[in-house]
């Protein structure tokens, strides 16, 4: 009994590490031509990994559904871009990423997390 419970605990820890840190298969999307919708709801951005081309203008349409105040801002800290989101009012964020690289976008508290990959 003791061994089983201890083993279960260790497996649980291994699972937490694997699921939250090692496993990388978030919902991905590519900005093609027009506008890309990003839904902000229940603690996540959907999709949360966005591919874009360097030097090309992108429009990310943030649709905030979550009334939790955490969701009210989206910040691209590496790009010095930010937006204030209103529940139910889509916000079009249009910009041109110039440099290749990975840029995180988060809420003010960095609990909502997403990534813009500029290729």
């Amino acid at each position: 009994m003791e061994i089983i419970i201890n083993l279960t605990g260790l497996v649980l820890i291994a699972f937490i590490v694997w699921w939250f840190w090692i496993f990388k298969n978030r919902s991905e999307a590519r900005v093609e031509g027009s506008v890309l919708d990003i839904v902000v709801d229940s603690g996540i951005y959907e999709p949360s990994v966005i591919h874009a081309k360097a030097g090309e203008s992108v429009t990310l349409r943030f649709i905030r559904k979550d009334s939790n105040p955490c969701a009210e801002k989206v910040l691209f800290s590496g790009l010095d871009i930010s937006a204030d989101l209103v529940v139910g009012t889509p916000y079009d964020l249009t910009f041109t990423p110039e440099k290749k690289g990975e840029y995180e976008f988060t809420c003010q508290m960095a609990m909502y997390r997403g990534k813009l990959i500029v290729e």
Binding site: V17, F20, K24, G43, S67, E72, M109, R113
Partner: protein, 748 residues
Amino acid sequence: MSKTADSMNNKSGTSKRLYVSDISCAGCVDTIETALKSVPGVDEVQVNFADRSVVVSGDVPVDILIQAISKSGYTASIAEDKTDSERENKDLAHYKELLKKTVIAGIISLAIVAVTMLGLLPEITSFKGQVSWGIVSLLALFVLTYAGGRFFVGALKSFKNHNANMDTLIAIGTGVAWVYSSFVVIFPDAVSEIARHVYFDTATLIITFINLGSALEMRARGKTSEAIKRLIGLQPKTARVLREGSEVDIPIEQVQMDDIVRVRPGEKIPVDGELTEGSSHVDESMLTGEPVPVSKKVGDEVVGGSVNKSGSFLFKATRIGEDTALSQIIEMVRKAQNAKPEIGRLADKVSSIFVPTVLIIAVLTMLAWFNFGPSPQLTYMLVTTMAVLIIACPCALGLATPISVMVGVGKAAEYGVLIRRGDALQQSGEISTVVLDKTGTITEGKPVVTALEPTSSWSEEKLLMIAASVETNSEHPLAEAVVEASKEKNVELKSIESFEAVSGHGVRAVYQQKTVLLGNRKLMQDSGVKLGSLLEMSEKLSKMGQTVIFVSVDGEAAGLLGISDPIKVDSKEAIKRLQDLGIKVVMLTGDNRATAQTVAGLVGVDDFIAEVLPQDKADQITKLQEKGEKVAMVGDGINDAPALAGSDVGFAVGTGTDVAIESADITLMRGSLHGVADAIAISKATLRNIKENLVGAFGYNSLAIPIAAGILFPFTGLLLNPIIAGAAMALSSLTVVTNANRLRWFKP
């Protein structure tokens, strides 16, 4: 921006913006378009699916349009400012919803606590007991889903996305309590008697506390953005415009470029423009922090959002909509409020791994109590694990920096200090040396000719004539002073044959086939001009703080001009304030040493660097930085752009309404150097506030989590009740927000 209903009813041929709250699909767009186009008088309809707005042009009263939309099955209203008042309404609704949930969850929780504590229900092992506890379990489930449902949904969604957040912790903590307790109710015999305990009261009270905490935090967070709301509130809703000879009130969005606008005493100026008729005093304090009303006459610039104090006047609109100074200020403040200074990066890194780490700690806690804890292990395991999950608060950590930045940037804006770059707030809090450009920064930047000394063969008038005739071709501020002096003395200017600027030294021109030199001593010496007695005179003037320009014609000295630039009345006081903040103040100028020394002495700077050519200003900054100083450069933002860009923080001073100076990190709308002291004092206070928050949040989590895990138990027998953990968690983020709000009362 909003429109007033009456103003839209009586205008013909104008467009009206409506907000349709229930446009949910592209199909709705067609329906609404068709419905509106069928209304007689409607010329054009544009439906914007993104922001749910409809713009209708044509001569139709707005209520008819709203009726037409509602007949087609949708709800329309006059569009208000969508990002602000709408957000406020939604926030208020959310706040009320949270309070309602708190009250209902609270009442049920207290009832559950009462029956648990007072032992009102039969033993759980009896059938009657199982039924009554079963009802309690269902009541608790109601509280968990009604008041805490969003935590469970959020936890599940982020889990699916390989993400974990606050919701995850709350959902697991309370969920485990409910599942275990319900298990005990259904199978009481499966658990040893000593561990046969239920935790419905714990789960429901935690949810109640967290809801209450969220509601209070939301209230407090609303206050952090008051500065920007105040700026938005400065914008009037209507403007009185001259149209076809009469004055009509129109919504501000309909004001066109070059419209002639009437402003009466006591009214707000609607957009930016140039005064064309009348004169007045205008209070610009809300925008620039300048306390004294500014006098305005024909040709002067007026700024939207400022208040007309005395006379009635007309002005021509030159900047409207998003181009007005006020709109740009709002945008800049909003952007800076969202920026994250370097100091917050560590907290962000910790936040990103925080929740999974807490989950691991929770599992380890459980195992530790199982292997080493006293009997009944199951009870101890449960209580400590719940406490760990609930007490951990990533919110406090994540909020610590941004919430103080919000308040600090807003506070700065109140004082006419606009922060353009996020890191500037932190940088200016750490400044050790401030470099002030002399002309236009310490001084008024409006030089006047105060001495005119011709040599024996020249007259004052002739000297001024030749100097002004040459300088009228130059754009240098000193040249303006010379030309201005010739105008005052009614000296007629002659045309010259050629003109060439000798950078940093003066100018060379040809007048009636004679070479004329105007400039400093070096220019004269390099050209072999003998200055003789002029040198003595020039030294005397320099000691009085005047800048000297020598004039020579065909290699012979003709005389000199003394030009002085009055020092701003409050420069000395502001420099003293900077020094009191522990900052070294250095003056930078192109003037000669003697002039610089005099001005430096008058204003009391710690040090000065004289005879610096414009292009070398940036090098001087670099030299100071190489000595390990954190340098702020203060200038007008135009001819010292490289120095501003090269410094750790560049301040453009006295930009008035021209807020978008690219090379500056911070723009001061007021001409006074007090703005620099205000900016640095506010930055220091904000930085201190952020540090308090970070220390508090890190300290709280690193103390609270081990205590919740039971680290004190072996020594003191102390265990944390998960209910207390819930209350502590709710309080911790509220404390961070409240501490940031303290900054609102800060006076630099």
